[in-house]
């Protein structure tokens, strides 16, 4: 039976600020999941801390609202325990690239088959607007007493360097385009990173909805020119198609160069995709032939009366001395 959008909505009260970019992301997630028709009980949405961290509560799937910065290892644990589940992690840029930066980088090394959506707004919203990792040097959003003293991270570049096999960017208010990107990220075989430009209407008065829609950037006819453009319509192709390492390196370089474009012309879409790198589950399966068909979370471990199914007699016999 096809899923309806309402099947994916929980009845939990949403307390995001009016006009928050998070609403766009939530809608896109719900639309994507409905279109993919994934059984909500076979799915987990795992979040960190912050406004974005509340996302799972608004979705009618298994929800895991974790600790600040730790959505990825929690999500990895769920997925490796049962690779037959669909797992989506989400969190803010502070959650993922500040306090959780170590997990962000190392998750790239593993390439677990799941998707990670970053709500990228340059501020720590829920603690009232401190500068977060993607905010550029010298920017002074209205909640900051002084301009940002740190440089901003380039999340796409960081993801590429870390080994993510799907790197994309979306925009929270282009919900249809974002929905397509989320579907691609979820369907990607490997770890997909999706950075979403997400205006925070309360604390980031620089990277606003109006800014992204072209306020102050007018064409010859005086019309505002949107600051985002879609990569695919420019003929850009980030997909690796062969096992040739040279091709992979070229595509990574191309994506890295593209990731420098930010501001008046900011690309959105898929920067890089490579399904030829084995997933972590495939690597585990190569070592443990029973892993895929009988994963940790689904294994029966006890028989009747609690008798352990595992036998360690051989291992004990190896230690026999007489």
């Amino acid at each position: 039976m096809a899923l309806k959008l309402t099947d994916l909505k929980s009845d939990f009260h949403n307390d995001w600020c009016p006009g928050c970019g998070d609403f766009g992301i939530l809608s896109a997630v719900q639309m994507a999941l409905a279109e993919m028709n994934i059984d909500p009980s076979r799915m987990a949405v795992v979040s960190g801390i912050g406004c974005s961290g509340k996302t799972p509560h608004f979705l009618n799937t298994y929800g895991v609202h974790t600790l600040h910065g730790r959505s990825l290892p929690f999500a990895t644990g769920v997925k490796l325990s049962n690779p037959n589940l669909e797992v989506i992690a989400c969190g803010g840029d502070g959650d993922g690239m500040g306090i959780g930066a170590g997990h962000f980088v190392n998750s790239g090394r593993r390439n677990v088959d799941m998707a990670y959506i970053v709500y990228d707004n340059g501020v720590y919203g829920l603690t009232k607007g401190q500068a977060s990792p993607t905010l550029k040097l010298g920017m002074k959003t209205k909640s900051l007493p002084l301009p940002n003293i740190n440089q901003g991270i380039n999340p796409l570049m960081l993801a590429l360097a870390a080994g993510y096999t799907f790197v994309a960017r979306g925009y929270a208010y282009d919900v249809r385009h974002l929905k397509d990107l989320i579907k691609k990220a979820v369907q990607h075989k490997g770890f997909a990173f999706l950075d979403v430009l997400q205006p925070c209407p309360t604390y980031n008065d620089i990277l606003t909805k109006e800014y992204w829609q072209g306020e102050g950037l007018l064409d010859a006819a005086g019309r505002p020119m949107p600051r985002t453009y879609k990569l695919d319509i420019t003929g850009y192709d980030g997909v690796v198609k062969t096992d040739d390492v040279g091709e992979m390196e070229e595509k990574i370089k191309q994506a890295m160069m593209k990731s420098f474009e930010f501001g008046d012309r900011t690309p959105i879409g898929v920067f890089y995709q490579n399904e030829r790198i084995p997933t972590y589950e495939e690597r585990l399966g190569a070592r443990m032939p029973t892993y895929r068909d009988n994963p940790p979370g689904e294994q029966e471990i006890a028989g009747q009366d609690g008798r352990p199914l595992a036998t360690v007699q051989k291992l004990l016999d190896e230690l026999r001395v007489n």
Partner: protein
């Protein structure tokens, strides 16, 4: 003269085969029916620093080491000068005569303070600052000194087997020290050869070279030192099937048995050995009942090395949410990083097992040395109040079966369990009667997998208030079981809630589970009591001091000083009534612990209001010996010592 109890030590630079030779020594003896207790001491270093291994043998059950050494086997200069002092009168030191004239100042790895201590002893005896000088003091103290010209004998082996490479030959030096030891003890050569063949079963060439070496060493010792050493070591025929077990292996194996299917870890001494064992044995054997017939099948344990301990604990929690029995193993610094994750598991009622290998703290502390300094921390890890179970094993057999108990507690009461072990147990080797794994029983509590019966649609009340505090728990992926987890206080479905009435209900629901655990867990899992019911002295302790305490207790009781011992295993929920009853009726209570502050003593006072006023403590990183405990108990018993004795033995 035959001895019931013999203490042997071998030492050398890390990476020179000290461990291997000690294991060969232990196996040779165990094969012959002797009981073995071995423990390893080493620096936080890869190669070059000094390490040593002590092996104690007996015809009776032994559970700890003794400080005095009956035979010291050395093949380098450092071991001789460091440990010659520990050898008892009539004992023996085996050394390489070509190193005798080596000046102590040339031994780079000896610390300046150790060096000056050696010099003052040598100066007082008018002896040179050399290996020979130190050995001369030992000789004057009645120790037999046996020179074994390793290189000369190895060349002879080379001639016999046609091996000309000196480096291939000198690789056998460590095992030659073992062979020389057994030859001096007149122990059957065949037992040593058998152990060698087993040890090198994948390297037949090395095995045969070692066998030739053993014969040449035995011949040399017989000819040169025939019968000069007073002790003889004899085999003791036994029909009991025995194993030689190491602590870290014990827990790894027990996790396989107990159904742990996801283990996460970040490398840390001394915890990682267990995870590596699991990874090496990740494809496991199952016996599954199919159509009333037991069929052999394969399964797997997934081991993930994470980027840090925060990832290790949170990944294990994720695994547990999705239905795995999941655990992580760590040591002090890593456990500190797990504090926040543990609180999350607490508020979300996730069954999580953390195996905590204590080592010397605080901070990096003594990373390769022993301590029991984390009891208070394990009881209070994380902010806020949440229920947890803290279980402390006292020896390798307890460790084995406590792993299953830990997972059972975690799943039955849906909370984090800290299973406390320590460096001394992780790095000790001991003979046991073959374990019976069928004694282990798995209990998974109110876990639901597949589909929630009678509930197909709509969110599930995962955190439903119940009389016991325990509610049905669907694994993620269960049909009809959708619910939410959050580190925030939450309602029965798992949604964030700051409502004060809900808060009270949830806090009380969670904490109530501890009352249930306290009621259901049998007394024999909570405490062990040893010795006469009424005694002049009652020792109370927890963890690996058990072995040394039992050995000391036997000796003291044999002498007529009556001593009993209360071992506390379950520290949370605390067996308050039982402990209060025992201690308030005891004549003289002494708390014995490997930490500065007597952490258990404080917990006992807090929980029972019984003051613990006498302490035997130790915190120099080296495990307590039974002799130290024996001496200290005697002093406290006769009133010749203050109420707090600090033990300081160990090199």
């Amino acid at each position: 003269m035959e001895r019931n109890d013999f203490s042997w030590m071998i030492g050398g630079a890390q990476g020179s085969g000290v461990d291997t030779s000690a294991i060969i020594f232990a196996k040779s003896a165990a094969q012959g029916g002797l009981r073995v207790y071995g423990n390893r001491e080493y620096y936080s270093n890869i190669k070059g620093e000094h390490s040593y291994f002590r092996v104690r043998l007996s015809k009776d059950q032994i559970r700890s080491h003794v400080d005095t050494v009956d035979m010291l086997a050395t093949f380098d200069d450092e071991t001789a000068v460091r440990h010659a002092w520990e050898v008892r009168k009539d004992g023996a030191i085996i050394y390489d005569p070509s190193l005798g004239s080596n000046p102590i100042e040339n031994i780079q790895t000896i610390e300046a303070n150790v060096e000056s201590r050696l010099y003052s002893k040598l100066d007082a005896n008018g002896l040179p600052h050399t290996v020979d000088g130190v050995l001369e003091i030992a000789r004057r103290n009645g120790v037999h000194i046996y020179a074994i010209p390793y290189l000369e004998l190895l060349k002879k082996v080379g001639e016999q087997v046609g091996e000309t490479s000196l480096s291939a030959l000198t690789k056998m030096t460590n095992v030659m020290a073992v062979a020389a030891s057994f030859a001096l003890l007149d122990y059957p050569q065949d037992e040593v050869i058998n152990a060698i063949r087993k040890q090198f079963k994948s390297k037949p060439k090395a095995a045969e070279m070692n066998v030739a070496m053993i014969a040449i060493t035995y011949d040399y010792v017989r000819e040169k030192y025939n019968g000069s050493f007073g002790y003889k070591l004899r085999t003791i025929p036994t029909t009991e099937k025995r194993i030689l077990l190491r602590g870290s292996t014990t827990i790894g194996m027990a996790k396989i048995l107990s159904g742990c299917r996801l283990q996460t870890y970040y490398p840390i001494t001394p915890a990682s050995d267990e995870s590596e064992y699991l990874e090496a044995h990740e494809n496991i054997d199952l016996e599954v009942m199919v159509d009333n017939e037991l069929k052999s099948m394969k399964g797997a344990v997934t081991v993930v090395q994470t980027e840090d301990e925060i990832a290790a604990v949170t990944m294990a929690i994720g695994g547990a949410l999705a239905g795995s029995r999941a655990s992580t193993s760590t040591s002090g610094p890593g456990f500190s990083l797990m504090a926040e994750g543990m609180g999350w598991a607490g508020i979300n009622e996730v069954p999580l097992v953390i195996t905590l290998y204590q080592r010397g703290g605080p901070s990096t502390g003594l990373p390769t040395r022993h301590e029991q300094g984390d009891l208070r921390f394990a009881l209070h890890t994380g902010h806020g109040d949440f229920p947890r179970i803290v279980l402390a094993s006292g020896d390798l057999e307890e460790m084995f079966f406590d792993v299953t108990r830990s997972f059972n507690y975690a799943e039955k009461y849906q909370l984090p369990v800290v299973h406390i072990v320590d460096k001394a147990m992780a790095n000790s080797d001991m003979t046991y009667k073959m374990f019976d794994p069928s004694l282990a029983k798995i209990e998974r509590g109110l876990l639901i997998k597949g589909a929630v019966p009678g509930h197909e649609d709509g969110p599930f009340d995962r955190f439903k208030e119940t009389a016991t505090g325990v509610s049905p728990r669907p694994a993620i992926g269960t049909k009809g079981g959708i619910y939410w987890n959050t580190g925030d206080e939450h309602d029965e479905k798992g949604h964030i809630s700051e409502d004060p009435l809900n808060r009270d209900m949830m806090m009380e629901k969670r904490m109530r589970k501890l009352d249930l655990a306290a009621e259901e867990i049998p007394l024999e899992e909570k405490v062990h009591f040893f010795g006469p019911k009424d005694a002049q002295i009652t020792l109370v302790s927890w963890g690996s001091t058990k072995g040394a305490i039992l050995d000391a207790m036997e000796a003291l009781n044999a002498e007529g000083l009556s001593v009993n011992f209360l071992q506390i295993r379950l520290v949370q929920p605390f067996p308050t009534d039982y402990v209060k009853d025992v201690l308030s009726h005891a004549k003289k209570v002494i708390d014995v612990e490997m930490n500065y502050s007597g952490q258990l003593g404080g917990v006992i006072r807090e929980m029972t209001c019984v003051p613990v006023e006498r302490y035997i403590v130790k915190y120099n990183g080296r495990p307590m010996s039974s002799e130290e405990i024996y001496d200290a108990v005697k002093k406290i018993a006769d009133g010749s010592a203050p109420n707090r004795i600090v033990l300081r033995n160990g090199a």
